[in-house]
């Protein structure tokens, strides 16, 4: 995967670049908004990571210009401004995801990966399967080996979200955002508790959801 990283803080930039390279990605690192915009409009990238506060041209302006020139590359915006309105402003300007500093690298990588695999909206399937697990999105039903499994609405949403991103690690924060619409960090283990509940209910298909220690959860065919 080829990434464009526009970040002016040399330490954070070097840290992210190193991590991304280790994960097998190609990274173009740029420190200023203007140069970044030039590369973004001329090169081809799978994902762009843009810091909000940049010298010369700030991240939001870069985003606006990209949107105006119909460049559809998914954008992850990094920022130290964590307020909900600021996040909304970023997303409305055209960012596909938003990450507030400071963040763990695993969180960053999971989000970048999720962006690169974002399916087109029209292709959303109505039925999802993984291992012995089938989820019917229209009837809102989950079947394990043809047997109905009773799930609470949030539990259903949790399984649905994981299955929509099969093979891809979703962090605790990502799940909180996608499933519960919590854009803050509750101290309680909401995600953990619900995952363990769901696993119990899924019975023989419980291994479909596996835990990646220190990273998050992933739905995949059990080995």
């Amino acid at each position: 995967m080829k990434l464009l990283l526009i970040e002016d803080d040399p330490e954070i930039a070097a840290y992210l670049e190193k991590g991304l390279r280790q994960a097998g990605h190609v990274v173009d690192l740029i420190a200023s908004g203007r140069d970044g915009l030039f590369l973004a409009t001329t090169g081809t990238y799978d994902v762009m990571v843009i810091d909000r506060m940049l010298p010369e041209l700030d991240g939001l302006s870069v985003l606006r210009t990209l949107c105006a020139s119909s460049i559809a590359t998914p954008v992850l915006m990094l920022t130290a401004l964590g307020r909900v309105e600021q996040r909304v402003e970023g997303l409305e300007t055209g960012a596909d995801d938003y990450l507030v500093k400071p963040f763990a690298f695993s969180e960053f990588l999971a989000r970048v990966t999720a962006l690169s695999r974002r399916p087109a909206l029209s292709q959303e399937p109505t039925s999802l399967t993984c291992g012995g697990l089938t989820l019917d999105r229209l009837k809102r039903k989950v079947l394990v080996d043809g047997q109905d499994v009773e799930l609470q609405p949030r539990e259903f949403a949790l399984v649905e979200t994981l299955l929509l991103h099969q093979g891809q690690v979703l962090t605790r924060t990502m799940l909180l955002e996608k499933v519960w619409n919590f854009h803050f960090d509750p101290k309680t283990n909401i995600v953990e508790t619900h995952i363990s509940r769901v696993r119990t209910k899924l019975g023989r298909a419980k291994d479909v959801i596996s835990t990646r220690r220190g990273e998050g959860y992933v739905a995949e065919e059990p080995a």
């Binding site: 519960w180 854009h183 909401i190």
Partner: protein, 432 residues
């Protein structure tokens, strides 16, 4: 910096202006009164001459009525002249040049007196001319008396205005100097000093009281700030120490956990500060509190069950209010987590939304141990943790954030001991 004896003093300027105004007004008044008095007196003189003239002029053999010389006691003096202007009777020797009113000076009649001012009226009669005159001493006397009186009064007024003004300015300045000196003192670090308040309870005292109130409030905030900084340093020192130990021991995973604990503290503090700074000016969208409560309750129900606690939700209708759904969700989440931390297994928590005339009311209650009565006010203070809870997890910012979010929504936030249990009530203003 305040300087004493400033060349430019508002008090002196005001006093001088007033003195000028006073003197001007006095002068105007005196002029008018003086003019009126003179007019009245001279009118009366003219009237008496006219009356005398009328009484005499119609008579035949006028000469017999007119004494040849002034008697000394007579008010009037007369002169009778023939057609050719020759004196025939009376003691006025010269016929005035014209008919009607005229003035003349006379020394001849009463030699020992100084020259008198006379006013005369001459009239043509059958035999020639009749002149009636009277001295205008009265007028002159009254005039000079008036001038003296008015002059003295004006002088007194001017003196009063100038010196009174100066005195007044000095009184004001001295009291202001007192305030300024105290303010200087406070600025130089004597923050416990307060403005002087006298028993007079006048406007200066009211100003002093208002300033003192402000100073008290500032001192309180300063103390609070100091306390927060102190607490923050303490609260960060524990995870920092642990972090150092773990880094030295090479326990990276644990070290990361400590770092996130610190980040959490810093993030919460930032968030509270942001909310406090930012509040009240933003126009928030209309949302339904009920939906937020359902969303949060749904997320926590399982947690409560796992922790062998019961969560009961009661909805009294839909509660529309202007708010930030994410912030309110965080508020509820903090309150529920507070209950999870501070109640034993088997406890029950109640979450209720009621809609009244005054607005929406959110109640979050539990039947746990509650807090001591004297602490119900304090639990929203930053870093406030009951001594008994010092050892437990948590950074003492959860309820401060609740309070900050409530204030951001113009909602009141009150804690009450239920015995057993604690109830936190938020009253949101009616949707306007």
């Amino acid at each position: 910096m305040w300087q004493k004896n400033q060349p430019e003093s508002a008090g002196t300027r005001l006093a001088n202006t007033y003195a000028l105004l006073f003197c001007g007004a006095g002068l105007l008044l005196a002029t008018i009164a003086f003019g009126l008095a003179r007019q009245v007196v001279s009118h009366r003189i003219d009237q008496s001459i006219t009356d005398e003239m009328d009484a005499l002029a119609g008579n035949d053999g006028l000469a017999s009525f007119i004494p040849p010389h002034i008697s000394g006691r007579t008010v009037f003096r007369y002169g009778l002249f023939d057609e050719n202007g020759l004196q025939t009777a009376g003691d006025i020797s010269a016929l005035p040049t014209s008919e009607g009113w005229s003035q003349f000076l006379s020394k001849e009649s009463v030699p020992e007196e100084t020259a008198d001012h006379f006013r005369s009226l001459s009239k043509r009669i059958k035999t020639g001319w009749l002149v009636v005159a009277t001295d205008t001493d009265d007028l002159e006397n009254i005039t000079s008396a008036l001038l003296l009186a008015y002059g003295a009064t004006l002088l007194l007024t001017a003196l009063l205005a100038v010196f009174g003004g100066k005195w007044l300015a000095r009184v004001f300045a001295s009291r202001l100097d007192l305030l300024a000196a105290t303010a200087d003192d406070i600025a130089q670090g004597h923050i416990q000093k307060r403005m002087p308040v006298s028993a007079k309870a006048d406007e200066f005292d009211r100003l002093s009281l208002a300033l003192n109130h402000m100073l008290d409030r500032n001192a309180q905030l300063l103390e609070q700030q100091r306390q927060i900084t102190n607490d923050m340093a303490h609260d960060l020192r524990i995870p920092l120490t642990r972090l150092q130990q773990k880094l030295e021991a090479g326990q990276l995973a644990e070290a990361r956990r400590d770092t996130s604990a610190m980040m959490e503290i810093v993030a919460s503090l930032l968030r509270i500060t942001e909310l406090e700074n930012d509040g009240s000016t933003r126009v928030l969208p209309v949302i339904n509190l009920k939906n937020v409560v359902i969303q949060v309750a749904e997320a926590y129900r399982t947690i409560f069950e796992e922790g062998e606690r019961t969560l009961i939700v009661h909805m009294g209708g839909s509660a529309a209010l202007r708010g930030d759904a994410q912030l309110l969700a965080q508020l509820l989440s903090n309150l529920l987590e507070n209950i999870l931390h501070h109640t034993p297994a088997g406890s029950t928590a109640w979450l209720s939304v009621e809609v009244s005339e005054a607005g929406s009311v959110l109640n979050v209650a539990d039947d746990g141990p509650g807090v001591p009565d004297q602490e119900t006010e304090n639990i929203f203070t930053r870093f406030r943790r009951l001594q008994s809870n010092r050892a437990t997890k948590g950074h003492g910012l959860g309820l401060s954030l609740v309070k900050a979010i409530a204030t951001y929504h113009h909602a009141s936030c009150i804690a009450r001991n239920l015995k057993p249990g604690l109830q936190i009530t938020l009253r949101f203003p009616k949707l306007g």
